[in-house]
Amino acid sequence: MKKSVLFGAMTVAGVAAGVASAGTLDDVKARGKLNCGVTTGLVGFAAPDANGEWEGFDVGVCRAVAAAVLGDATAVEFVPTTGKTRFTALASGEIDVLARNTTWTFSRDVDLKFEFVGVNYYDGQGFMVPKELGVSSAKELDGATVCIQTGTTTELNLADFFRSNNMSYEPVPIETNAEAQQQYLAGACDVYTTDASGLASTRATFETPADHVLLPEIVSKEPLGPLVRHGDSEWGDVVRWTLNALITAEELGVSSANIADMSAAAGDNPEINRLLGTEGTLGEMLGLEADWAKKAIMAGGNYAELFEKNIGETTPIGLARGLNAQWTDGGLLYSPPFR
């Protein structure tokens, strides 16, 4: 028993200061670091590389927020969370923002007392089949055996989809994505279903990805976005408008390549001027520097650049923009105006 007291004393240095109630924005500024919750590892969205540097699409959001608030895209403490620990970590104040491909649902927003500040990826449940099956639509899957992860919403979505289309299926329950890959490749099931982004990254690891096709039907809505705690609207605004700045930057054609020129002096487009702080006082309203959005965009580029670098068609994951295109291109990305 005495020894555990010893360790108590020994970890005096490890006793960390948590979040005071003054307001998350002030806390983050005082701390000089943003505590950002990410996954313990999801291909393309968040994973540390060989040098231990986090990279990925969700990580890009964290870095943009850190750059906007602190002016330094590396001033982020990444806190890996599992599906089970993520909400407690946010609720207890261990992290300031959770950017962990979390689906925006009613109960999470209302009942768990979190605030989703926007959507950075519109996902949905899809189907993958071997090409040799000759199936081109999920509606032709009557009687198929389907590999499905147990205990997830995908299981319920699948049942709904097959019932509403008057089809039958035989489920092959599996526990993890890794197991699913093995089962599917071994031919234990005709179809594998999970989130479309997960299917794409799974397919990318196959020896012959071209032998498998993703069917066009998406049978559920999975809007993934960053979230913060209820009750601190100022901080929620900062994260929300940082995300919006990335999206708007793409819409207005501001990228990390041309941002230095565009922000040097006020240009012809007033919205770009307001966004980059060469005109107006938007930064001041948020409690940030005037060039907050410029720093956020320079951290990893605008939305399109983040997408292409981490999960886009040039990467092994090879996701098309699809729903995640700008509203002007037929997608769902629609940032409120900066004025």
């Binding site: 028993m1 005495k2 020894k3 555990s4 007291v5 010893l6 360790f7 108590g8 004393a9 020994m10 970890t11 005096v12 240095a13 490890g14 006793v15 960390a16 200061a17 948590g18 979040v19 005071a20 109630s21 996954t39 313990t40 590892g41 999801l42 291909v43 393309g44 968040a46 994973a47 540390p48 590389d49 060989a50 040098n51 231990g52 806190v79 890996p80 969370t81 599992t82 089970k84 620990t85 407690t88 970590a89 207890s92 104040g93 261990e94 890794a178 890959q181 093995q182 990254s201 990318a204 690891t205 196959f206 020896e207 990467t315 092994p316 994951i317």
Partner: protein, 432 residues
């Protein structure tokens, strides 16, 4: 009989016939094969089937290992090099081995520190494990926790020195008063240690870590097999004394102590370890004020220690129950008090009986440390399942990584088991 002389018969053998070699079927390899593999037709059949199965396994794995690629940047590159042949992609191990051993956040320039701590650990463990070594080495063993803490976590050296000072102070007070009463000694020692820690805690400035000789590494940055080793070693060495105390407490005649021990043991044994870990990582955050939290590593150590202490207590209770009543009575008749009787007569025998059980739990505990990966600590399994498999380069490499983890754990656990067998032989004083 008298006429049977050498000269009256044709031949008399006067020397012994040299021993002829045994029949070919009764010697050497053939005999061994016949006796062990082909004794009956059923055994022969089983042997042939077993050889075939072994052949199948080796035919599958050997080319896979022999063709293994050790130098590539990604799984795709491995496949290109193999170009259709069967082969492992060990390149993931060569690229990521520091992450598998130290976790992905431990500063690269500081890898020598845990490595040094590991070798010092071997030195510190030696006198505990092999009691033929000079007893003076135990001084180093007593200092080792503080040295290892300083090496692994870094930061100011004042923290481990303060912790050590508390122990030394407490020990002296204990020595002074224990002659009068054990309770006074233990209580006084604990009080003095606590005072030293609290006062010292005020004296160490908050900024002491910033310009320390060794870069401070927070607990969250520990990972890999190092984390498994640290958790395993700390928890085993803490839970054995705690288990002994609990086992004695459960046999105590004092109702309060007995009650506490029984409730503790039964409660902990009735709860799965993973639940305790979730409590440690998730629930405790709600109980503590938001300004201060107890270090995550410490929380996990406490939970695992409590868990294995309850099991070890039951194993030791079995050892205590196995002793004949005469041993207790003999101790009483010699006029020994409780502490002396336990220390000199009962426990040495009871612990010897309990060795296999304790080692069993130690091995189980060591493997259970992989459960911390579910509370987002990156032990070797957490590293594999999380960051490494989630990187775009290595998504899809399973056998190589998990095989590596198996090898790491097997070496350690087999070592522990071999040591315990040696210990049992060494301590065998009965005449079986």
């Amino acid at each position: 009989m008298s006429d049977t002389h050498a000269h009256s018969v044709a031949f008399v053998r006067e020397t012994e016939i040299p021993a002829s070699p045994p029949p070919a079927a009764e010697t050497g390899v053939v005999k061994w094969l016949r006796a062990n593999l082909f004794a009956t037709w059923a055994n022969s059949l089983l042997t042939i089937v077993a050889i075939y199965v072994i052949y199948l396994i080796l035919a599958g794995t050997l080319p896979w290992i022999a063709n293994g690629i050790w130098n590539a940047g990604s799984l795709g590159e491995c496949r290109e090099i193999l170009s259709g042949k069967v082969g492992a992609c060990f390149a993931v191990l060569t690229e990521r081995w520091p992450q598998l051993i130290y976790g992905f956040k431990y500063p690269t320039s500081e890898y020598w520190r845990p490595t040094l701590a590991f070798f010092l650990m071997l030195v510190a463990l030696a006198p505990v494990l092999f009691f033929d070594l000079p007893r003076k080495l135990l001084i180093f063993t007593a200092l080792f926790p503080f040295i290892a803490y300083w090496l692994i976590w870094g930061g100011t050296i004042l923290t481990p020195i303060l912790a050590l000072a508390g122990f030394v102070g407490g020990f002296f007070v204990y020595q002074k008063f224990v002659k009068d009463s054990f309770a006074l000694g233990a209580g006084g020692g604990a009080l003095v240690a606590l005072i030293i820690w609290v006062v010292g805690g005020w004296l160490i400035p908050d900024t002491a870590n910033e310009n320390a000789m060794l870069l401070a590494v927070p607990s969250r940055d520990l990972g890999g097999f190092m984390l498994n080793m640290m958790l395993g070693l700390t928890c085993v060495s803490l839970s054995i004394p705690l288990g002994i105390v609990l086992a004695l407490g459960r046999q105590s005649h004092m109702p309060l102590i007995k009650g506490i021990s029984v409730v503790f043991i039964e409660f902990i044994r009735g709860v799965p370890l993973i639940t305790l870990l979730f409590v440690a990582s998730v629930m405790l955050a709600y109980f503590f004020p938001p300004e201060s939290t107890v270090d995550l590593f410490l929380r996990v150590v406490i939970m695992i220690t409590m868990f294995s202490a309850a099991y070890i207590a039951e194993v030791i209770r079995g050892g205590l129950a196995a002793l004949p009543k005469g041993q207790y009575e003999a101790a009483d008749s010699l006029g020994l008090d409780y502490a002396q009787a336990m220390r000199l007569i009962i426990l040495p025998q009871a612990l010897k009986i309990s060795i296999p059980g304790i080692v069993n739990i130690a091995v189980g505990l060591f493997k259970d440390t992989t459960l911390v990966s579910v509370i987002s600590m990156f032990d070797i399994l957490g590293m594999i399942r999380g960051p490494i498999l989630a990187s775009t380069e290595w998504n899809g490499v399973y056998w190589e990584l998990l095989g590596f983890a198996c090898v790491c754990f097997f070496i350690t656990c087999y070592g522990i088991s071999q040591y315990s067998q040696w210990l049992e032989r060494r301590l065998a004083t009965d005449h079986r």
